[in-house]
């Protein structure tokens, strides 16, 4: 390979500096803290202390909640994205803005709003009270936490699926119909497989923030459902145990890398057969 010119090296420099400063250095810090004790001596005890029932439960719960939130997002987002992709180009733009609109508001405010909606004396229960139903206890339940995740991350599922569906050549749908496939069969055998890349990036973009999120569970789960993100936050903000916090972050990172690898493997697989 030819040696790269001085100019191209110079052009790459800012990016390299950026990467070292803000990606590699923090990762090294995390690794350093995770592998040392409070006095700076090498130790594996930070990881050892994670193998307790308490932490395992937190990891397991986080994974479960994130999985459920991702599945629910997918189920909601696919029809929405499909519907948007079928409207006129002008309407598509408008609907995409509407999908993104809540994201213009602050994450904390959005989550607080859900508290006001779900509380025992909140909007939903007030309305239910008027018609003589309820109150239904919703706040501080696992459902409320998952709802918070779904609400916050849904756009990141809709957008990539919408993108892949809007790029889908309508001739494939016509070809399927031409070969005798009804609308549902076409969805199953043609549209779904051809939008797989969108589905996979959607799953990635919802699962990763869901499994590492904090705050949602504190506000909508009332502290009953500790998640990894909250635990890490606590180590840094109140327990001042940087070493344990770093170790948990490290495990979370590995967890995400493993699940993404599995996801991508699934994505690369040769498209199946018509059932």
């Amino acid at each position: 390979m030819k040696k790269r010119s001085l100019l191209s090296q110079a052009a790459a420099a800012p990016h390299i500096v950026w990467s070292v400063l803000f990606i590699i250095a923090p990762l090294l810090f995390v690794a350093y803290y995770a592998l040392t004790d409070a006095d700076g001596n090498f130790t594996l005890s930070n990881f050892g202390s994670l193998f307790t029932a308490e932490y395992l439960e937190i990891f397991l719960r986080s994974a479960c909640f994130a999985f459920l939130a991702t599945v629910i997002c997918l189920v909601i987002a696919y029809p929405v994205a499909y519907f948007i992709s079928k409207t006129s180009p002008k309407t598509q733009k408008l609907l995409i803005v509407l999908v993104m609109l809540p994201q213009w508001m602050n994450f904390l405010i959005r989550t607080y709003s859900w508290m006001a909606i779900l509380e025992d004396t909140g909007i939903i229960n007030t309305v239910l009270g008027w018609v003589g139903l309820g109150p239904v206890h919703m706040i501080n339940t696992a459902g409320a936490v998952i709802l918070g995740m779904v609400y916050n991350f849904l756009p990141y599922m809709i957008l990539p699926i919408y993108t892949s569906l809007s790029k889908l050549d309508p001739r494939f749908v016509e070809a399927s119909a031409d070969l005798g496939c009804n609308a549902f069969g076409t969805l199953l055998h043609v549209i779904l497989p051809l939008s797989r890349s969108g589905i996979i990036s959607g799953i990635t973009m919802v699962f990763v923030p869901s499994i590492s999120t904090f705050y949602i569970s504190q506000k909508l789960g009332g502290g009953n459902f500790d998640l990894i993100g909250d635990t890490i936050e606590r180590q840094f903000q109140s327990a001042y145990n940087y070493n344990l916090g770093a170790a948990i972050s490290f495990v979370l990172m590995v967890l995400i890398i493993v699940s993404m690898t599995v996801m991508n493997r699934f994505g690369e697989e040769e498209g199946g057969v018509v059932a």
């Binding site: 070809a175 031409d178 018509v274």
Partner: protein, 387 residues
């Protein structure tokens, strides 16, 4: 042999955004026919095909299959299959699964599917390509897969939408023969859409020439070529010199300031007509022996013949001849009665048929310097004076 009407279009019309794409067309298609819809882009031929396939619903009119209306039948329930423009092979399926798609939907046992797919692959010369990724096939191979994928369902009618459009010339010729053979072998009715007149003439049993959303002429390739009904058809199919003429009486026509014998009759006395003379039907003779006389303005060597543009009284004729004649020399033209074809005046009259804006000549002119252009224009002025 009494042929069965398999498809009937009656008064089918379609508008898009107020623009008329199909203007009430009537068309009958018979069993085992190779029918070609021929016309320039925007003439409505693809829309007609898509209406038959069920992908476009006409605004008005009737579409019958075996005498039964199918206007409200969705595409997946029609006994037709389509070979799409650019093929539309499913990119997530391999060659085998693409071809097997239709049969799997019919819940045919896998063993039978296997046999039929193999049979199809053999027919389109793609044995051994079962596991190939369709995205990595050449254009010609994709084309064959698309044909196999459609034909395996044993449709009554196969619709082909410019299927050879993306292939290079050599491959086109091979595929034309192959398609014609497949059609003969299977006995399936083919409805073929193309803008390539040569393709239409060489493959079809019946050609439907379309323009401006209307059918201009329906006939066998020889009918269409020899007896075009109007200036559009005459110009679109092959090369034509189309002149303003006057039908003096039966078998006698006047054009280019001269009277000729012809084989046409049934016009009003002195009716204005369009006269078609094919470039290959004109004999080049010595100036004093010609019925018409003119000066050659350009000569192009085409391999089998020379293409000569002759200026006769300001109208530029195209003549195809195997004898060379030098530019700027004077020649005579001799026209047999059977070389003259008379057509009624139509909306297309005066739009086609003069080779004064002939593209090759224009290309040639644009290469000249200003000086040369001046010289050339002086030369033409002299010519006109000498006449």
């Amino acid at each position: 042999m009494e042929k069965n009407k398999i498809i009937e279009l009656k008064g089918v019309a379609k508008e898009y955004d107020g623009e008329i794409v199909l203007d009430s067309i009537d068309l009958d298609i018979y069993d085992k026919e190779f029918v070609t819809l021929l016309g320039p882009s925007g003439c409505g031929k693809t829309t007609t095909l898509r209406i038959i396939g069920g992908f476009v619903k006409p605004d008005s009119g009737e579409l019958l299959f075996d005498g039964v209306s199918v206007i409200d039948v969705p595409p997946h329930k029609r006994p037709v299959n389509t070979v799409f423009q650019k093929y539309a092979l499913f990119p997530h399926l391999n060659v085998y699964d693409n071809i097997a798609f239709g049969l799997r939907l019919k819940k045919m046992p896998e063993k039978e599917i296997y046999d039929k797919v193999e049979e199809m692959l053999a027919m389109v010369n793609l044995r051994g390509f079962e596991k190939r990724n369709v995205n990595l096939l050449s254009g010609g191979q994709q084309q064959r897969v698309a044909i196999a994928r459609a034909l395996i369902n044993s449709p009554r009618v196969l619709l082909l939408d410019e299927p050879l459009g993306a292939l290079d010339l050599k491959l086109r010729k091979d595929m034309q023969n192959e398609l014609k053979n497949i059609q003969k072998k299977t006995g399936i009715t083919f409805i073929y859409v193309t803008h390539d007149q040569e393709e239409a003439l060489s493959m079809s049993d019946k050609v439907v020439v379309m323009a401006n959303g209307a059918i201009q002429q329906i006939g066998t390739p020889t009918d269409i070529y020899n007896e075009p009904v109007n200036a559009f058809v005459a110009d679109f199919i092959g090369e034509s010199n189309i002149l303003d003429g006057e039908m003096l009486r039966d078998f006698r026509v006047k054009f280019a300031g001269t009277e000729f014998d012809c084989l046409d009759k049934g016009f009003e006395p002195n009716e204005k007509v369009d006269v078609v003379i094919r470039p290959e039907d004109v004999d080049v003779v010595a100036p004093d022996k010609g019925m018409l006389c003119g000066v050659i303005s350009s000569v192009t060597f085409k391999g089998v013949h020379y293409e000569i543009i002759v200026n006769i009284g300001g109208f530029k004729w195209m003549i195809q001849t195997t004898d060379y004649a030098a530019p700027n020399s004077k020649i005579g033209l001799y026209i047999e009665p059977d070389a003259i074809h008379i057509m009624k005046k139509s909306e297309f009259s005066d739009m086609f048929g003069d080779y004064s804006t002939y593209s090759e000549e224009m290309d040639h002119l644009s290469d000249l310097t200003e000086e040369e252009m001046e010289y050339l224009s002086e030369l033409t002025e002299e010519e006109e004076e000498s006449e």
